[in-house]
């Protein structure tokens, strides 16, 4: 079912596919770490504007995208999140000067680590969404949900849940 290498494949090989997880019923689960000042506010604006998007995301508010410890992302993935979104202010707009740049460096590093561990790093997204971009937030969740649907359920979930 998953085409991922390394960890995912070995788990698949051992446990096989979960028959209940067909593509039609599979709803990706996304954990989003959003910065308080831009993306979380943008997510609020999506609500104020009554924009509709998939209910796949669970938002955890952080003060800054620069405070998102890579361990949080790994923890989310091992707990069974199909995808993790980190949302921050646009470059130059950080409330704390440069936290978003830190997030960018950390995410780049993290994705390499994940990839080298055989994990599909496309499950981790970093996006700049400002407080006035409610539509961009809604679109991002929709896009990410679609993308994760194509990727299929996270191998981690199958591994631990069976």
């Amino acid at each position: 079912m998953t085409a991922e290498s390394g960890l995912g494949r070995s788990i698949d090989a051992k446990k096989g596919c979960d028959a209940t997880m067909t593509d039609s019923t599979y709803e990706p689960r996304i954990v989003a770490f959003l910065c308080n000042w831009c993306t979380y506010t943008g997510a609020d604006l999506a609500g104020t504007s009554r924009l509709q998007y998939p209910a796949s995301v669970r938002i955890i508010r952080m003060m800054c995208s620069g405070a998102v410890d890579p361990v949080y992302v790994i923890k989310a993935l091992t707990e069974g999140a199909d995808g993790v979104l980190i949302g921050g202010c646009h470059p130059g707009d950080c409330h704390y000067q440069d936290g978003n740049y830190k997030a960018r460096r950390r995410t780049a590093m993290l994705k390499e680590v994940l990839a080298s561990a055989g994990f599909n790093s496309d499950r981790v997204w970093l996006r700049w969404i400002s407080a006035s971009e409610g539509k961009l937030f809604a679109n991002t969740i929709a896009e990410m949900t679609d993308a994760l649907r194509l990727l299929g359920p996270t191998p981690m979930r199958q591994a631990w849940s069976v």
Binding site: N36, C38, S49, Q52, R58, E79, D93, G99, K135
Partner: protein, 1545 residues
């Protein structure tokens, strides 16, 4: 001042603090200084000033005309030169202002006037009604969704629509809606019952017919009657009538009543649900008897029942409805409709007794009724006292019509059979019938007779055809039906044959009207005639039958009872009378009005309250005919003709009682409704009231006058863009695709009308070629705008850049005169725009814009040049044209300034004296922002702080006397307790509850680990719920609280405050955002939303279980400041701090004070810089609070905000350590030494500064003779590769010096060679003066600089001469000038010493070596490091006035800090676990605020709590988890993650 929660907005009224002499310092003086300030204008300037003042210890009243603060900045998309999102950077400020305990926001308010003097003003404010209670509104928006009135959205520059009830913008503070009322619509005003016609018309247009019905019923229980037989004074008053024909309001009302009827007939109407909208009131215990079940009686009965009184209605006839039933023929009004409406009234609890004649109305008072309303109508006909009037065959219209209407009810025993009278049809069938009278009743009688089979029907009346009281269309209908009309007749006798009527003798008259109730006419001679008839029906008047009053109430000549006009009380206490019984025959609507009035006064009577007299209403909303014509022409309103209902053919209708007029169809009705002009804006349809579950709407609010006592007034009313129509040749308003820059700004905004998509208004197409035209309403004396608006060049560039970011296909072109990119980082921005972002700049003024028919494209004409430099007119086609409109003061601001006695300059801006930025001509009144001169956001913020500093100095002695602090009970220790979480789930009216199954969420929450209590509330944020939560926390000993409602960004502080009220640490709180991030975004899937809500609650509870109390650390503040730099910036800052009451050390490296100001001699407009210098130095030397050290240098800086220790080496070499809480960096800058044009080699080449010095001496030129020719060269060492920025002041300096020379040596030839003449703001005046004085201006391109060479000395001249060659633009014309003197405008460069100081202070520099502020837009005098501020040339090149403003601005930042005895740290700061820390120092590296410290030898890294801003960067960087962020601890995030991803097995 108010205990109201600031997040939800303040109460509009605050009890102004009474002047208690013993409470304020200076008690006993005549004019004590008050510690409060009125700030006018809630834009970014007013907000900044308010924050500064409140932080500095003053109570602030912030007055804003609009319903929300935010000003122009809230409308902007991005800001230059950083492209920051305006709303992103502003909204924290909005929230701060909204929440600040000592800032009281007064929206919808205007300052009327002030009395008193500086320090002690009494101000009068006018508070316009908002019609929404600020303390109740939750900002949910249900009201706007229900509102049927659409208006152009001014916030979106009319590119979209909003409703009459609206929130200014999504992030608005206060977060509350407001209603826009223009006044009472004329239709409503003209109606006796003030029927909300505009309201139901608007609802019909929206096809909301049931809602329209409900709105009608608010005022009128008989819509089907009034939809048919009203004389619709509404239509007579309708503004649309001025344009073509009034809206057919009556037909629309009938349409709605018919629609409801059809629903009922079809069984689609849920009467019970509709009725239940009127909740049963509490019973009052009073009983009221009403005599007569006509419109007055039944209306009164219904009103009284709704007020809780028991009502019995007694009716003599066998049917209810009075004249509506027995006076109006069925062909006009089907009785079943009336019966249905009566039924509706009875369902609400009115008791009706038919066939019950009351003989003694006052006697009812003795039978247990507490009041009686006599509404018996006027059912007695009147006959003329002429011979034959009593013959058989003579009857009266009232009797006749009653018998006709009751004919189908006639039975033997009912009195309805009219006591054995014959069937009226027998009476007239096959007979000749003549009706005497010309009114509506006469017509009704005539037409009824016609339908009953009369052989011939005639009408005769005194009035002429034109004078007849019946409507013209009624007479016309009658004639169509073959009824013969004999107008202008008087009757002398009814003739008889065989004891029966045979005819009427009459004669023609010239009737002139009634005089004292008697007809006035002459009989025309020889016009006698005889009209043969079998039946005569008198229809000449009706009277009430007042038998039931038993003669005990006073009457008018025995005909009508005497009543009080306001209360309808008769002379008998407890007995009221109204309707036709009092007024004689009138219209149904008048009787309904009487019923309402009687009910109101009877209710007052029963409650023992004085009767309510007429309440104040809004003025009538007038429509400007020109505006109406425009709306009809441009399609804003439907231009369709009035819809008329169809009539049955006369031949068809005259033989039966079927209804004559048909109803409008649905489509017709909606089209007709669309003709309404919506005069009142708000139609008062009350749909918002029905929709609002919080009960926040109050349509009865009225304007209030408020009085406050304040020490000072600060004006920051802002400016507005000039209209795009100021240059008609550009076609704004005529061509759809010519828009203003602010419209384009809204277009770019992601939350704007097009969600950030750049599109053409004409067709929505994506434009490719977009042109900006600069200086529209700027630098243009022809339209009175003789100044530069300062911001347009930059905003146009920004808009062009951002537009291309949105759509890379856009090709922007900016047409300009001079590119004025004079601010910090501006020139680079322009450079990037041109080089990298494809923005094309054309230096040319556009002469005209024409639309190309068919395409909507625009052809621009402008002057261009051929390759050889010859002029060539150009034309170019664009898809979209943006006018860069300039800025001007609002009329409101100007008139306010005039009222206050604040002097305005020739352009209408508030004038500050030279070198006194922020001051006005009136002491104690200060000005900030663009109202003193057009300026950008940072300069506005600087000036706001500057004005605040001046206020703070004025009121220094009253600092802290009127501010408030909240007090809370002691915090309960909960650390040792097991978690007891309370969960409060909010319905938010239907916002959450309409989607999420809230009870299910509560039930789910109850089962979560650690949850001790869970409940739900309609509005968790309401005041009463807060009290309930406090009680619940105490009762259930809760030690953690979760609220599942909206976003924590706006509401967390409110709930945290509630926790504190209950004795809990505010950080034992967590929110689950189930509105913005759940219910609102999953509206279509309630199940999914409910599941998500449960999970969000589970996440919040999981985190809450692990929450720990957070104690905010604090540190004592050393109340002393250090200013580094003794130039005019540093001296002014030091003086300002001292004036505000704090001691200062002023350290200057050089031996004397004064800095650059020592070299500036020439002032503008009579100002004297040297006087300023002398005065400032003298004041510094004379100020005991200032310690001056000259020749001193800063060596070391230690400590942190509030507690700095700075080591200074004095001139004598001794080291001293200064303790201070705050630091101001004012180290200045310097004139750059030119390296070109022969400077240093040729003695006649000097800098501007040197030239200024020369101007002070008797001029001999550099070498003895007075210069005859002077050439000034601009941008020497500015805007080049080595120094890429603009030095901002050189153009104005050159103009100033050129003018000074011209004044002294009028014959001297002055030539100014420039690239862009940057005389921004009012400096444009200098430019104009220089041109008028004959200064020559030649523009050159950067790649072709002038060349200066030495010229051989002329015979007879001792001085050397210089030859200047330049390729002058436009056209690259080679020009050669001989000059005695060449003056170089050398730029300003940063002090080289900045580098070392920046290292000492740990604050950053720009790449140009100036200090870098914390935020370019909103924190222009702050460093990111707390406690260090900057001003003057250390920040960037700037003028003296700008430097002074910045120095004052820095001073209030210092004072706000020093005024606090201790500084509290942010709660959510980092902490360190020493056991885990390996002292690697990564945290120190990543901290942008210097809050992490690791000194050599430390075992673990520290957190300097006051410096930590709580970003969490160090936490994420810490490899050992030794660093944690309070409130965002590792374990807490883990708990949330596990809850988010937990799956039930």
């Amino acid at each position: 001042m108010s205990a109201e929660d600031p997040v939800r907005g303040m109460q509009p009224m605050h009890a102004p603090r009474a002047l208690a002499p013993e409470a304020v310092p200076g008690a006993g003086r005549v004019n004590p200084t008050l510690g409060s300030v009125l700030v006018v204008g809630g834009g970014i300037g007013g907000m900044q000033a308010s924050i500064d003042l409140a932080e500095a210890g003053f109570a602030v009243h912030l007055v804003e005309r609009l319903p929300a603060i935010g000003g122009t900045m809230a409308q902007l998309d991005k800001t230059f030169p950083t492209n920051d999102c305006a709303m992103c950077i502003m909204s924290p400020k909005l929230v701060e202002v909204g929440r600040h305990l000592n800032i009281h926001i007064l929206t919808n308010a205007e300052l009327e006037g002030i009395e008193g003097e500086a320090g002690d003003f009494r101000v009068t404010l006018r508070q316009h009604p908002r019609y929404v209670k600020l303390d109740a509104c939750t900002g949910c928006g249900d009201c706007a969704a229900a509102c049927p009135v659409h208006r152009p959205d001014a916030f979106n520059q009319n590119l979209s629509e909003r409703r009459a009830i609206f929130k200014l913008y999504p992030q608005a503070i206060p977060n509350a809606f407001a209603i826009h009322k223009q006044g009472t619509a004329p239709c409503r005003d003209a109606c006796p019952i003030h029927q909300r016609a505009q309201g139901y018309v608007a609802l019909i247009r929206e096809s909301r017919f049931a809602d329209a019905y409900r709105t009608i019923l608010e005022d009128n229980p008989f819509p089907s009657v009034c939809g048919r037989v009203c004389n619709h004074r509404c239509e007579d008053a309708c503004s649309r009538g001025q344009a073509d024909a009034p809206v057919n309001i009556m037909a629309l009302k009938r349409f709605v009543s018919d629609w409801v009827w059809d629903q009922q007939v079809a069984g689609a109407w849920d009467a019970a649900a509709f009725d239940s909208r009127n909740p049963s009131p509490a019973a009052s215990g009073h009983r009221v008897a009403i005599v007569g079940a006509g419109p007055a009686g039944l209306t009164c009965a219904l009103d009284l029942v709704r007020l809780g009184h028991a009502v019995a209605v007694f009716e003599a006839l066998p049917v209810a409805g009075g004249m509506m039933r027995v006076g109006v023929p069925e062909y006009r009004m089907p009785y079943e409709r009336l019966e249905q409406e009566v039924e509706q009234i009875l369902r609400e609890g009115v008791e009706l007794h038919l066939n019950h004649r009351v003989d003694d109305a006052p006697g009812l008072l003795r039978q247990g009724y507490d009041a009686v309303f006599v509404a018996v109508g006027a059912h007695q006909g009147v006959k003329l006292p002429i011979p034959g009037a009593d013959l058989p065959g003579v009857t009266m219209a009232t009797e006749f019509l009653r018998r006709v209407s009751l004919r189908n009810l006639a039975s033997d025993d009912g009195p309805g059979a009219a006591a054995g009278e014959p069937d009226p049809s027998l009476h007239v069938r096959e007979k000749r019938v003549l009706v005497l009278g010309g009114g509506n009743v006469a017509i009704d009688a005539a037409m009824s007779a016609r339908r009953l089979g009369a052989a011939w029907v005639g009408m005769a009346c005194l009035e002429s055809r034109e004078q007849m009281p019946a409507h013209d269309w009624e007479v016309r209908d009658a004639e169509e039906e073959g009824i013969e009309v004999f107008a202008s007749r008087t009757f002398s006798a009814i003739t008889q044959a065989n004891g029966h009527v045979s005819g009427v003798d009459c004669a023609q008259v010239n009737f002139r009207g009634f005089v004292e109730g008697r007809p006035d006419f002459d009989i025309l001679p020889h016009t006698e005639e005889h009209i043969a008839t079998d039946v005569v029906i008198f229809a000449i008047g009706q009277r009430p039958d007042l038998e039931c009053l038993k003669g005990r109430a006073e009457t008018v000549r025995g005909r009508f009872p005497v009543v009080d006009g306001d209360t309808l009380a008769t002379t008998l206490p407890g007995v009221f009378a109204g309707g036709d019984a009092v007024t004689g025959t009138t219209f149904v609507v008048d009787a309904i009005a009487a019923g309402h009035k009687a009910a109101g006064s009877i209710d007052c009577f029963l409650r023992g309250e004085p009767a309510k007299r007429t309440n104040g209403r809004l003025p009538i909303a007038e429509q400007d005919p020109v505006e109406v014509a425009r709306m009809l022409a441009d399609g804003t309103r439907s231009s369709a003709p009035r819809a008329e209902p169809t009539r049955r053919l006369a031949s068809e209708r005259r033989s039966d009682f079927g209804e004559v007029y048909a109803a409008l169809s649905e489509a017709q009705a909606m089209a007709e409704a669309a003709r309404c002009l919506e005069c009142g804006v708000c139609s008062e349809c009350l749909q918002c009231v029905y929709a609002c579950r919080a009960g926040a709407i109050d349509h009865l609010q009225t304007e209030q006058e408020l009085h406050l006592e304040v020490g000072s007034v600060l004006l920051a009313p802002g400016v507005e863009p000039v209209s795009g129509t100021i240059r008609p040749e550009y076609g704004f308003g005529r061509y759809a695709n010519v828009i203003t820059s602010l419209q384009f700004e809204r277009m770019l905004s992601a939350s704007g009308p097009f969600a950030g998509v750049v599109q053409r208004p004409s067709d929505g197409a994506h434009p490719r070629k977009v042109a900006w035209i600069q200086c529209v309403g700027s630098r243009d004396t022809s339209c009175g705008q003789g100044y530069c608006s300062s911001v347009c060049c930059m905003y146009a560039t920004k808009e062009a850049v951002i537009a291309r970011e949105h759509d890379p296909n856009i090709e922007p072109t900016i047409f300009y005169i001079d590119l004025r990119a004079f601010g910090k980082g501006f020139d680079e921005y322009i450079e990037r725009a041109e080089q990298e972002q494809g923005v094309r700049y054309v230096r040319s003024m556009v002469s005209s814009v024409r639309e190309i028919p068919g395409t909507g494209n625009l052809r621009l004409s402008y002057a261009g040049f051929r390759a050889d430099g010859k002029p060539l007119p150009q034309e170019e086609e664009f898809d979209l044209v943006v006018l860069s409109t300039g800025l001007k003061p609002t009329e409101a601001a100007c008139s306010l300034a005039r009222r206050l006695g604040v002097r305005l300059n020739e352009f209408g801006f508030a004038e500050s004296p030279a070198f006194e930025p922020g001051e006005t001509s009136r002491p104690g009144v200060y000005v900030a922002g663009a109202f003193s001169e057009p300026k950008d956001i940072p300069e506005t913020v600087i000036e706001a702080s500057c004005a605040a500093a001046r206020v703070s100095a004025l009121l220094a002695e009253a600092r802290g006397t009127l501010t408030q602090e909240r007090t809370y009970p002691a915090e309960r220790e909960v650390a040792e307790e097991a978690p007891r979480v309370g969960v409060f789930v909010c319905h938010c009216g239907i916002n959450i509850g309409g989607v999420v199954d809230v009870p299910a969420v509560v039930e789910y929450a109850t089962g979560l680990a650690g949850v001790a209590y869970a409940e739900r509330n309609i509005y968790t944020c309401s005041q009463d719920t807060q009290q309930k939560i406090t009680a619940t926390i105490l009762e259930h000993r809760l030690n953690r609280v979760v609220v599942a409602s909206c976003t924590p960004r706006t509401h967390e502080p409110l709930f945290q405050d509630t926790l504190r009220q209950a004795g809990l640490n505010p950080h034992l709180f967590e929110m689950a955002n189930i509105r913005e991030q759940d219910a609102w975004v999953h509206r279509g899937s309630p199940d999914v939303a409910t599941r998500k809500a449960k999970e969000l609650v589970a996440m919040a509870v999981s985190k809450a279980r692990t929450l720990r109390p957070i104690q905010c650390g604090s540190v004592a503040v050393v109340p002393r400041a250090l200013v580094i730099g003794g130039g005019v910036a540093g001296m002014t800052a030091a003086l300002a701090i001292a004036a505000q009451g704090f001691p200062v050390d002023l350290v200057e490296r050089e031996a004397e004070l004064g800095g650059n100001l020592r070299h500036i001699h020439v002032g503008v407009a009579g100002s004297d810089p040297q006087h300023l210098l002398r005065q400032t130095i003298a004041r510094v030397r004379g100020e005991p609070r200032i310690g001056v050290m000259t020749g001193a240098e800063v060596l070391e800086v230690a400590g942190y905000v509030g507690n700095y220790r700075t080591t200074v080496r004095r001139s004598d070499g001794e080291r001293v350590e200064l303790s201070h809480g705050a630091t101001v960096v004012a180290t200045g800058g310097r004139e750059r030494r030119p390296e070109a044009y022969g400077y240093g080699e040729l003695p006649s080449v000097v800098t501007q500064r040197e030239f200024e010095g020369l101007l002070q001496t008797p001029i001999d030129g550099a070498a003895g003779a007075s210069p005859r020719s002077v050439v000034m060269i601009q941008c020497v060492g500015s805007r080049d590769e080595s120094q890429p920025y603009c030095s901002r002041v050189c153009c104005s300096e050159a103009l100033k010096n050129a003018l000074a020379l011209k004044q002294r040596e009028p014959q001297a030839q002055v030539t100014l060679l420039y690239r862009d003449l940057r005389s921004y703001g009012f400096r444009e005046r200098l430019y104009r003066q220089a041109r008028l004085a004959g200064v020559r201006f030649l523009q050159f391109e950067p790649g072709e600089p002038p060349v200066v060479t030495r010229r051989e000395i002329e015979p007879g001249r001792s001085a050397e001469q210089l030859r200047v060659r330049v390729l002058a633009q436009p056209g690259k014309e080679p020009v050669e000038i001989l000059a005695d003197l060449v003056v170089l405008s050398a730029g300003i460069e940063a002090e080289p010493g900045n580098a070392s100081l920046s290292r000492l202070l740990k604050v950053p520099l720009t790449k140009d070596g100036f200090f870098l502020e914390a935020h370019v837009k909103l924190r222009p005098v702050d460093f990111a490091a707390e406690g260090i501020y900057l001003c003057g040339l250390a920040h960037s090149p700037r003028s003296i006035d700008e430097t002074l403003a910045q120095a004052h601005a820095a001073s209030i930042k210092v004072v706000a800090l020093l005024a606090k005895k201790e500084l509290a740290a942010t709660p959510i700061i980092a902490s360190v676990n020493p056991r885990l820390c390996s002292a690697c120092g990564l945290c120190v590296e990543v901290c942008p605020f210097g809050a992490r410290r690791l000194e050599p030898g430390d075992a673990y890294a520290q957190v300097v709590e006051v410096l930590c801003q709580g970003c969490g960067a160090c936490v994420a960087a810490c490899p050992n988890k030794a660093s944690q962020q309070k409130g965002f601890e590792f374990g807490q995030v883990r708990e949330m993650l596990e809850a988010a991803l937990w799956e039930p097995a």
